[in-house]
Symmetry: C2
Subunit: 661 residues, 2 copies
Amino acid sequence: MMKNGKAKIKMPEKKIKVEIEPIGRRIFLKQPVNGLDAIVNSGIGIKSVCGGKGICGKCRIIILDDGEFPPSEQEKKILTSDEIKRGVRLACQQTFHKDLSIYIPSSSLSEEQKLQVEGEELDIEISPVCKKYFLGLEEATLKDTKSDFTRINECLRKEYSVDARTIDFKVLTQMPTVIRDNKWKITATLRENSSGNEIIFIEGGNRTKSSYGIAVDLGTTKIAIFLVDLLKGKTVDRIGVTNPQIRFGEDVMSRLGYAMQDEDNLKRAQSLVVQSINEAVDGLCKKNRLSSNEILEMTVVGNTAMHHLFLGLPVKQLALSPFLPLTSEAIHLKAREIGVAISPGGYVYMLPPIAGFVGSDHLAMILATRLYEQEGNCMGIDIGTNTEIALKSRKGIVSVSTASGPAFEGAHIKYGMRAAPGAIERVVIDPETCVPVIQTIDDREPVGICGSGILDSIAELLKAGIIDRWGKFKPEKKCLYRDRHGNYQYILTPEFYMQKRNNERIQKDGVNGIGETRQKTEYGRYNDRCDDKYVSINQRDIVEIQLAKSAIRTGIEVLLEDAGIGFEKIDRIIIAGAFGSYIDPKNVINIGMFPRVSLRKITQVGNAAGVGARMVLISKKERELAEKIACDIRYLELTVYPSFTEHFATSTIFPEPWELI
Amino acid sequence: MMKNGKAKIKMPEKKIKVEIEPIGRRIFLKQPVNGLDAIVNSGIGIKSVCGGKGICGKCRIIILDDGEFPPSEQEKKILTSDEIKRGVRLACQQTFHKDLSIYIPSSSLSEEQKLQVEGEELDIEISPVCKKYFLGLEEATLKDTKSDFTRINECLRKEYSVDARTIDFKVLTQMPTVIRDNKWKITATLRENSSGNEIIFIEGGNRTKSSYGIAVDLGTTKIAIFLVDLLKGKTVDRIGVTNPQIRFGEDVMSRLGYAMQDEDNLKRAQSLVVQSINEAVDGLCKKNRLSSNEILEMTVVGNTAMHHLFLGLPVKQLALSPFLPLTSEAIHLKAREIGVAISPGGYVYMLPPIAGFVGSDHLAMILATRLYEQEGNCMGIDIGTNTEIALKSRKGIVSVSTASGPAFEGAHIKYGMRAAPGAIERVVIDPETCVPVIQTIDDREPVGICGSGILDSIAELLKAGIIDRWGKFKPEKKCLYRDRHGNYQYILTPEFYMQKRNNERIQKDGVNGIGETRQKTEYGRYNDRCDDKYVSINQRDIVEIQLAKSAIRTGIEVLLEDAGIGFEKIDRIIIAGAFGSYIDPKNVINIGMFPRVSLRKITQVGNAAGVGARMVLISKKERELAEKIACDIRYLELTVYPSFTEHFATSTIFPEPWELI
C-alpha cells in the first residue's frame, strides 16, 4: 500500500541507499559517489594506504548484489579471480551508482573500527582468565594415597608448571566421579583469581579445544547476549532479548521505584532478568551444540541501575539523591550465587560502575573505543534516556550523565516508537514544497517514528523554516495542519499528501460529489481525523526533543568548561550505542545537540558497550586496563556545577538558520 | 538400690575419689595423699617451682567442698584472706583425705596443660582472621557521590591504615540500609583472605567490643561446639550434641556406605549434621544473648569421613580402597554455601585432612598438644573406632590410622554402652576373692559397661589370673559362671555377689524351701537367668578388646620400626580424646596396648582436637602453623607396610604376668 502511495506521488529526487554490513549501517547518497569516499564520509574507518589509487588493495569490500559492479583493470591486477567471482572489489575503484549492499571484511577495517563492530573478531590479545589443561592422572593405589586435589595439582605442576590454589566447592563434589568415570583422564579449567588459580571446572577426557564464555550488555530495554569462543576470541553467536523488567517500568527511575518498594519486588526484578538471561544462554548453547555447563565465565556491563538489579542489590540509595552506587569496584561473583546458570564453578565478572548514573556500559564504551588513548581532545557519547558523555582531554577523562529523557527512544513523542519495522527512520523535507520524504524500517507502511526519524524531522523542520529558533511552529506555514484540539502538527505520512493532491486535482477538474466534498474538508486545517490516521510531529514533540538535546548540549558545555577548552578544540567525537549508530550526524549538529563541527570528526561506532563486555571476557589485560581506567575517570555531577542552569537555559534554543549544514 | 546393695555387702577398701575441674577428670586414691602428688601422678601438668615447700604459691587450687581442708600456716602467709575464704589452697599443703572436688585455675596449669584443657583460656597469641573496625563515615552529598564501598574503604585507610579488597555479596545487599539506619556510624568486620581483606559483616554503631566465633569438633558420635570470644581468645560456652547422622550407622564405614548409595542420601546426611550444628549454635547464642548473625567464623575439625559428609562431598572414593580424601587442603568456604547459619558473609574454615583415615581432628590434636615441637621422641594417640597415632621423631611426624573398632566405645561388647550414667567406668578385681569392685557414672545402678570399664575389666581379669595370655577364661576359676548357652562369663554387678552371699548364708543356716532352692541353682554355674540380669564380660568381649588393642599396638610397632627406634626411646606418650582421658593408663599397659613404660611418660589431655579447633579460630598464626604441619606429616598406610601382619599376629597376645604393673 505504501509502495503504491510512493509510486503515485512525485517525490523529490531519489537517493542512493547503501547498506553496510556487518555494521548494519545505512547511508544515503544524493548522487553516484566513489565507494571509498562514501564509506569514509560515513565515518567508518576503512583502511586505505595508497589514498584511492587502487594499488595497496587494503580497501577490499564485498559487493553483495550481483552484477552492475564489474571489476576495473586495476582490480583485476590486485584481486584474484576467485575474489572477483565472490564479489570482492576495492572500494576506491567502484562507484556507488545504485542501491546496494556491501560487506566490509574485518581485514579492511581500521584497527579502531574493528573493535567497534559487532560480531567481528576483536583484535586484542586473547588471554581469558579461564584456561583449560588436559591431565592424565596416575591412578591412586594403596601405596599412593594422595587426595584427588593433590593429585591434580601435582600433575598441573609437572606438566604445565601451573598451580591451583583452591578448587571450587561444587566442582569438588563432582570431581571424584568425573575422574573415575573417565579413567583418570580429565580436563581441568583454572581461573586466575587475585589469590591464585582456582579449579572451576573438571571435564572428562580432553576438552581443551572447547572453551566458551558469555558477554552480556544489559540494557534497560534490551539485553544483548554474545556467545564467545575464548580460544579464538571470536563471537560465535548472539541473541537480543527484551529486558523482562520492562513490566515494572520502561525507564530506569520507574524500575528503581518498583524495586525499592519492598524486598520482594527487588527479588522479583532480579530473578526475572537472570531467568531471561539463563534462557537466552541456554538457547545460544543448544543452537551451538554446547551445554550451558561449558560456559566458563560471564561478563556483564550495564548502567548502574541494571547492574544493581541484576545482582539484587538494594537501590534506594541509587534512586534518591545523592544517587549512590553501592560499590564502584569490579565484581567477581560465583554465578550460582545469583542464580546464573553457567558452569557450576563459573564466575560472573562485572565491570565497575563509575557513578549512580554512569554505569559500567560507559566504561566498556571507553574501553572499546580506546577513547583513553586518543590523541588530543576526544569526546565519547552514548545517547539514551540517560546520555553519558566522556571527555578525554589533557586533564584526563571526565564523565557526566545527563537526563536526556526517553524522547530519542521514541517515548513521550506522540507517534514515537522503537526502531521496529514501520518506524520512520529518515526524514527529508523539500524546502520548496515543504513535503516530506520518509524512509521506514523494512519499507513498511509508516506506523510511527523512531529516534533518528524524530531527530531528522526537527532538523528538517528547522531547515525548511517551518519552526523557529525557539522551536515554535510558524503559523503562516501552509504545510501545517491543526489536530482536533486546534494544535498545529506537521504530517509525515506520504499517503496524506497523495490524497491531498488527488483531492486538489478532483477539485480543479470539477469532479464533485458528497464524498469528495467531505474529502476536501478532511485535509483542511481544522481536520479532526488526521490525529489517528497519519504520523505527525506536534509542538509538544518538538519541546521534548528540545529538552533532550538541551540536556546533552549542557553536559557537553560543562565538560568543555571544566576542561577549559572550546568545542573547536575537540579532535574527535565518538557516538556509541544503537541509537547513535542510526542517526544522521549532520542533523545532530543542525538541532544544536552538538556545536557546529566538521562531520569528519564524528564517528558512529554502534554497540561499543557490548564490544567492551566481550573484550574483558576474552582478555585479562583488557580487564585490568578497564579497571584502571575506571579509577582514572573523574565523575562530574552536573546538577551541582555552578554554570549548569545557565548552560541549560541557553541550550534549548536551536541554531541560527545560517549555522545549519 | 545400688547404694543399698553397696551398704549390705562388704566391699574391698573404699577409695578416695577426687573430681578435678575444669578438666572433668576423676582420680581414685587408695589412701590419703598429698594434693600436689595426687595431681602430678594423675598426669595433669600443674605448676610447682619450690617442689612442694609451699613457698612459690604456684600450685593454687580451689577446693569446691566446704570445710575439712583448713589452710596451713604456710598457706596463710602466701594466700590472701579473700582467697582462703573462696576455698583457694596450695595443692602441696593439702592432703586429699576424703572425696572432694577441686578446680585448677588456668594460672596454675603448666603451659602445656593449659592448651589441653577444655574451656580454659588458650595461652596463644590472639589474632583471629576477622577483625572489627568502627567507622564514622562522612555522609554522602551531591558533591560527594562516592559509592558506599569506596566511602568505607577510604575511612578504613584513613583511620586504620587497612584496606578492604572486596566485600561479600550478601553484605553488600545489606550495607546501604545499615549505613543509613545508623547515621553513617557502622562497624565493619574485615576478614584476612589470601587475596586481601574482605568485608564480611557490617553492623550499626560501635560493635568492636563484641566478636565471636564457633569451633566445632565434629565426631562420628558426638559433636562438641564451642562459643569463643575472639577478642579475649576465651571459650564463653559450649555444648555437646549427638551427631544426628548416627541413624545412618554408628561407625564411619556404615555412615559412608549410606552416603555413597545415592546422592539424596549424601544430601540428607549433610543437611542433618548442618541443621544440628545450626540449632546448637543458635542455642548457644541465645543463651549468651547473641544473634547467630554475629558469629563471624566457624572452624571445624573431624575425621575425613565427617569432613566430607559435613561438606556434602562424595565419599565413594573414601569408602573404597585406596580410601582417598577429595582434598587435603584447608578449606575456606562461605558458610551459607553449605547452609551453616552464622553471619551471612562468614566463613567456615576446615583444617586439612591428612589422609582417608587420618582426619583434621588428628592434625588439631598434634597442634594442640604441641607434639611437633616436643623434644625427643613423642607419640600422640587418639583412641576411637579408628585410632590415629602420630610419632614425632628425628624423622619428623609420621601418622597411621588403625582400625581398632568400636569396642572401646562400648560397641560389639555384650553389655557395652557409651559413657552415660549407669555405665561401669572403673573395675578392680580382688585377686584373693575374685570379686569385683565397680564404679559407675553418677553412682547409678550398673546398666552396662563403657570403654574404660571394659579396659579395666580385661586388665584386672588378667591380673587376677582369671584369663590367660591368649585371653581365654581359665575354666578352673570358680568366679566364672556360664550363661544359658554354656559359655563362661565374669559377672560385674555387685548385686549378684550380694545375693549369692545371702543365698550361701541361707543355705548354711539351714533355712530352706522351694524359693530358696531355686535361688541356689540360680547362681549355679549353669544358671540361665544371669544373661539379662547382670552386667558381665564374656569370651567374645575379650576377643573384641584383644583385636582392638592389637590394632593399636600394631600401629605403634610399625611406627617404631619405621622410625628405627625402640619403645624405650619414647620420651612421652600423649593420649587424647574423650575416651583416652578416662582410661587408667596403667591398664593400657597391662593389656599390652602399649609396651611397658613409665607411667610418668603418659599424659592424658582430653579433647585436644576441640582445643585445636579453637586455637585455629582465635589465631591466624596457629592456622598457618597447622597447615604447615599438615604438609609435614607423612602418612603411612599400615596395610601395605611389609611387617604389618607379623606385628598384628604377635600383638594379640596379652603380656606375661610378671610384666603387669
